[in-house]
Amino acid sequence: MRANPEARPIAGGSDLLGWIKEDVQGTGEPRWNLLVDIRTIPGSDEIRFDEADGLTLGPLATLDAIEHSPEVQDRYPVLSRAAGAAASPNIRHVGTIGGNINQRPRCWYLRNTEFDCYKKGGNFCFAVTGKNEYHAILNGELCYIVHPSDAAPALMALHADATIRTADGEQTMPFDEYFIGPRQDVLRENVLQQGDLLTRIHMPTPSPNAGMSFIKAQRRGETYDFAVVNVATVIVHEGDQIEDASIVLSGVAPTPFRAVAAEDALRGQTVSDGLLQQAAGAALLRARPMTENAYKVGISKNLIVRSVREAMA
């Protein structure tokens, strides 16, 4: 794969085959001429929980298997719900967690062969002058995609690590550093280079006092729809007293967005309506909505408040 710039790993194919079928191409997404099926790697779909070590996921574990794993449901409910909120039951049966994390964005200009935008190696972002109701309100620059994954914010909220295999060997990093924005490289959404693989996902055992919540706002019903905004929240608390907070949103920025300002505002405090409003406001302070998506600022604040309440219930 490394030697051939037109080779691509394929897992469940639910995202990759869509690209190929629609014939979307550009510098960041050439016309792939060789697909390498990685599902045949033994053990790559493991879901293993160990009280001392935490949860280990092989990248080929399907979203459906993760959603229904008893250990994940019991100890990592935010991940079970996030995996179950993605796409539709049939896609979750073939779609893998590795593919979900590495799926390409849904920007309707990017996925349309008529528009040669920055992300395809062109020199314009059509969302700026066009229809951007579902684009980014935070951290956009050159490109204003939103990260499409439901699983990614849950992994980040759980402080998961990614292990990747590159030309230099194996490397492990927190998911906070795995996703990269357009400022770093507009052609990619994460650190992987041509030929690299995500090989393992690992996260620690959550504190027994951790409460979790995953909420997804979407355009219709509960199936088959990407998030307008979603939020994954883990709150470690004793009654009303918050010890630690981990809050990550998707649908708002080119990478899953950790609401650091909200986490800081909540840590060590006693929960109250005023505190939650203040924390949510702080998280969205730097939002710079485009012409049609200011409504996402309100949704994001409301969901942060709702999810902290839900996690502490």
């Binding site: 539709s88 409504y295 949704i299």
Partner: protein, 187 residues
């Protein structure tokens, strides 16, 4: 008035029309006598919605729709048509929209991924559809039609139901989250 009472009133009014005795052979009535006479179809829809003020998301939870169809030649077909109209009308009110990129005129959602139709879970939990059969002198065998009429009641009723829920008329269709939240903000 509950939805049930309202429906009773409509059914009584529409049923109160003379119809031929059972067994009468009426034949095709599309005769020269009726050149220039148009058929009038009637129907009524009653919708109940839930609006989440935090996200602008609208869920239709109950739909009742009754149509005057003339004679129902295939009653099951009529019922199915009205069910389809309910779903189609909900989509029209809430999600369906062909979106053009303004500078270029290119459609940015030319697929069922971005052109949003509800899936089956968008159908309200409670759907009740019915029809009345006043004999129609113009249509064949006393029938009228229920193709397009079945689509019409949902969207105005949903506009009104949203008004009833949050006190604001959303002035566009589809009523996406952005549209609903904007309307609430301007209240």
């Amino acid at each position: 008035m509950t939805i049930e009472d309202a429906v009773d009133v409509v059914v009584v009014v529409v049923d109160d029309v003379a119809r031929p005795a059972e067994g009468t052979i009426v034949g095709s009535a599309r005769a020269a006598d009726f050149e220039g006479v148009s058929q009038k179809t009637f129907g009524a829809g009653f919708y109940e919605v839930e609006v989440d003020p935090a996200t602008g998301f609208v869920r239709v939870i109950e739909a009742v729709q009754v149509h005057d169809v003339g004679r129902a030649i295939n009653p099951m077909g009529v019922i199915n048509q009205i069910h389809g109209g309910v779903m189609h009308g909900i989509n029209k009110a809430l999600t369906e929209e062909l979106i053009y990129d303004p500078p270029t005129g290119v459609v940015v959602n030319p697929n069922l991924d971005e052109y949003k139709l509800h899936m089956i879970d968008g159908m309200p939990e409670r759907v009740q559809v019915d029809f009345v059969e006043p004999y129609d002198v113009v249509g064949p065998y006393g029938a009228k039609g229920v193709g397009e009429p079945a689509l019409l009641p949902a969207s105005p009723a949903i506009h009104a139901a949203i008004y009833d829920a949050v006190g604001v008329y959303v002035n566009r269709q589809p009523m996406t989250q952005a549209a609903v939240l904007r309307a609430i903000a301007e209240l």
